[in-house]
């Protein structure tokens, strides 16, 4: 299995939609074949269409608010005492997280296809919040599927979704988290694909949804690349990009523009959710070598039992609490382009505490996982190493959990 250079990894799949011959694909009911095919045709046409690109850029610039900041974390660097630690503050984006890019693009596509309704899944609530914002902006009716457990633990985003006029459909099945929300959303699409567009909230799902999401979040690394060159005059010799990985949309977007660099120069480190340190459950299929299976229409490494039943996950971070992972990350893992590891709930909480103590940013529990590993590894790096952490979400949504676990008030 090999990564090709000079061709977007998003296009490195075979005719059945598999990356590396085995990740991704389209394991979908017959009913979805046509709407997926229609979406493929539409997206493949528009992704190279200058008018569409300038429309996208217009909304990204004026509405999403790009570029997001790229800042040095001076105090944290001093405290850690190793590599220079920087952050790409993607949570600056309108709505407070990277999910806005994918949501905006899906709403633009829905408009072009003449659909009046858009449905989407959400875990942490950011994908749902952003989709509801974008739907409102573009005049689409919006339905958000969310697990009951997540509705309870991510109230600020739930309220935001409702304020944007979207309908939240609580999902009671299974573990009542993201995995069930995605299933229920797909089921809704199966029954309503003639009138409704679907937005999958991460780089997961049938092939085309992986591609659209990865294409959208790549805005992050496009900005970052020019910001780095502006700051350092060149791409530094030792650059390390840390990002949390749940479905994998923010990390993919954070890395994509740097794909062709040698990993000795630009290393990618993906941090999965290891769950509570006392629990055997986790949401880290790459770190803990889960077997390949099929989840939500795509082959991927996924937490499952011998029979192929998808296993329940556990993580303090709703956004990472997913048993599978993007086929793109499976491909990056097996080609050894990226390295994956996990941080526990406790690690993430500690990292939040440290970062918010020394710096003015407040990463949500998802990027706090990435900060945790970045902090502990940076200690060992030389001073000319540049570590960048994607702070892809804001912690306001976690204020209840942070109050309870750390006693901090946001």
């Amino acid at each position: 299995m090999k990564l090709k250079k000079k061709i977007s990894i998003l296009d490195q799949h075979d005719k059945f939609g598999f990356w590396g011959g085995k990740f991704g694909g389209n394991f979908v009911p017959e009913t979805l074949k046509k709407p997926i095919h229609d979406l493929e045709i539409l997206f493949n046409k528009l992704k190279n269409d200058k008018k569409f690109l300038s429309e996208r850029d217009k909304y990204f610039k004026n509405w999403v608010g790009v570029p997001t900041r790229f800042i040095k974390l001076n105090n944290l660097t001093k405290f850690v005492g190793g590599a220079e630690i920087w952050s790409k503050v993607v949570s600056d984006a309108n709505g407070g997280a990277h999910k806005i890019y994918n949501a905006t693009v899906h709403c633009l596509l829905a408009k072009k296809s003449g659909k009046k309704i858009i449905c989407g899944d959400t875990g942490a609530g950011y994908a749902g919040k952003m989709l509801s914002m974008a739907a409102k902006k573009f005049g689409l009716k919006c339905k958000i599927f969310m697990g009951v457990k997540d509705i309870k633990r991510q109230q600020p985003n739930v309220q935001a979704i409702r304020r944007n006029g979207a309908e939240i459909i609580p999902v009671y099945s299974g573990s009542q988290t993201l995995v069930d929300a995605v299933s229920e959303c797909m089921r809704f699409w199966v029954a309503n694909c003639d009138t409704t567009a679907m937005c999958v909230g991460s780089t997961v799902g049938p092939n085309i949804f992986v591609k659209i999401c990865g294409w959208s979040t790549s805005q992050i690394s496009r900005e970052l690349k020019s910001q780095i060159i502006e700051e350092f005059g060149t791409i530094p010799n030792k650059l390390k990009l840390y990002n949390c990985v749940g479905g994998g949309s923010s990390s993919f977007g954070f890395w994509n523009e740097f794909m062709d660099y040698d990993k000795k120069q630009v290393e990618f480190i993906g941090v999965e959710a290891g769950g509570p340190s006392k629990s055997k459950k986790h949401a880290a299929p790459l770190t803990y070598r889960s077997k390949i299976g099929i989840l939500h229409g795509a082959a991927q490494y996924v937490n499952q039992n011998n029979e192929g039943q998808i296993e329940e996950t556990e993580s303090i971070s709703a956004g990472l609490d997913y048993p599978g992972v993007s086929p793109l990350h499976c491909f990056l893992k097996d080609t050894k382009r990226a390295r994956y590891t996990a941080a526990s709930d406790e690690d993430a909480l500690m990292a939040f505490k440290i970062v918010s103590k020394y710096e003015s940013i407040r990463p949500s529990l998802e990027p706090s996982h990435a900060f945790s590993v970045a902090i502990s590894e940076s200690k060992k790096f030389s001073k000319d190493t540049i570590v960048i952490v994607n702070s892809c979400g804001d912690a306001y949504k976690d204020r209840k959990i942070l109050k309870k676990k750390l006693g901090v008030s946001l």
Binding site: V190, H296, E307
Partner: protein
């Protein structure tokens, strides 16, 4: 040699009625009861579909989800599904059995081993909900080699060209999904429209047995009598759920229900 699935269709045709296909989930509500249910409904049904339950089904509605979760909770494993089939096939009113489920279960069991064990236990056919054409071409061929009929699915969204290719690669039975819906949705298309779509499929190759499923209940089944076969699934699963709620015996309740369904299409 004519397959037992084809035989079931010709038998129904001789009686001038559609074949009645039932769907139940293996292990629902218990492993033992699901075998008893199969045995008792097979007096009235022509072909029995048996679901092997998966916990992340992307095309099933609430009723079948409930049945599947119940079966998984009971500890139903694939080997139990095979055991149920084996015992059913030994019984007096044995009928053709079509297993139905999601591809990940087959993948984890091992494609070849799965088919070998299905054959050994006398499974007649297979429906894999999330393995559409053309992705299923190789696997369908493997099924045929093992004398297992692979059932292709067709939906209202299937384009004409695609339909032709699917029919070309299909075995003795195809399954037409009546409407855009997960299983068990309320029938939102008129039976007239469904039958007219059904006829379009039959016109391509009249020799393929085409069944209609999704949304069929005792209230609408007689309006779809023109089909080669009709599948009732969610309505049966609901009956099991209701009988459990009322502390009634699911075996007799389901059996009575299938008997009534049969009367409606005679």
């Amino acid at each position: 040699m004519i397959s037992s699935i084809s035989q079931a269709f010709s038998f129904a045709k001789k009686e001038n009625r559609p074949a009645l296909l039932t769907y139940t989930v293996a292990g629902d509500n218990t492993k033992k009861n699901s075998l008893e249910i199969l045995k008792s409904i097979s007096k009235h049904a022509d072909i029995c579909e048996l679901g092997f339950p998966h916990n992340t089904p992307i095309a099933d509605g609430g009723q079948i989800q409930t049945s599947s979760y119940r079966a998984i909770k009971n500890g139903t494993k694939f080997k139990d599904v095979l055991k149920i089939v084996k015992n059913f096939k030994k019984s007096k009113f044995s009928k053709p059995i079509i297993l139905m489920g999601y591809f990940n279960m087959i993948l984890q069991y091992g494609e070849s081993k799965f088919l070998k064990d299905c054959k050994k236990n006398r499974v007649d056919g297979l429906i894999v909900v999330d393995l559409p054409w053309p992705e299923n071409k190789k696997f369908a061929k493997k099924c045929k080699k093992n004398s297992i009929s692979f059932v292709q699915l067709i939906s209202p969204t299937t384009s004409k060209n695609r339909l032709k290719s699917i029919i070309r690669d299909s075995h003795e039975m195809v399954y037409y999904i009546s409407m855009l819906s997960t299983t068990g949705g309320k029938l939102k298309v008129s039976p007239f429209k469904i039958i007219s779509n059904y006829k379009k499929i039959k016109r391509i190759n009249p020799s393929k047995n085409c069944v209609i499923g999704f949304g069929i209940t005792k209230n609408n089944i007689k309006n779809l009598k023109a089909a080669d076969g009709l599948v009732v699934g969610s309505a049966i699963c609901r009956e099991i759920t209701n009988s459990l709620k009322k502390k009634q015996n699911p075996v007799t309740k389901v059996s009575n229900m299938v008997k009534k369904l049969k009367y409606k299409i005679l």
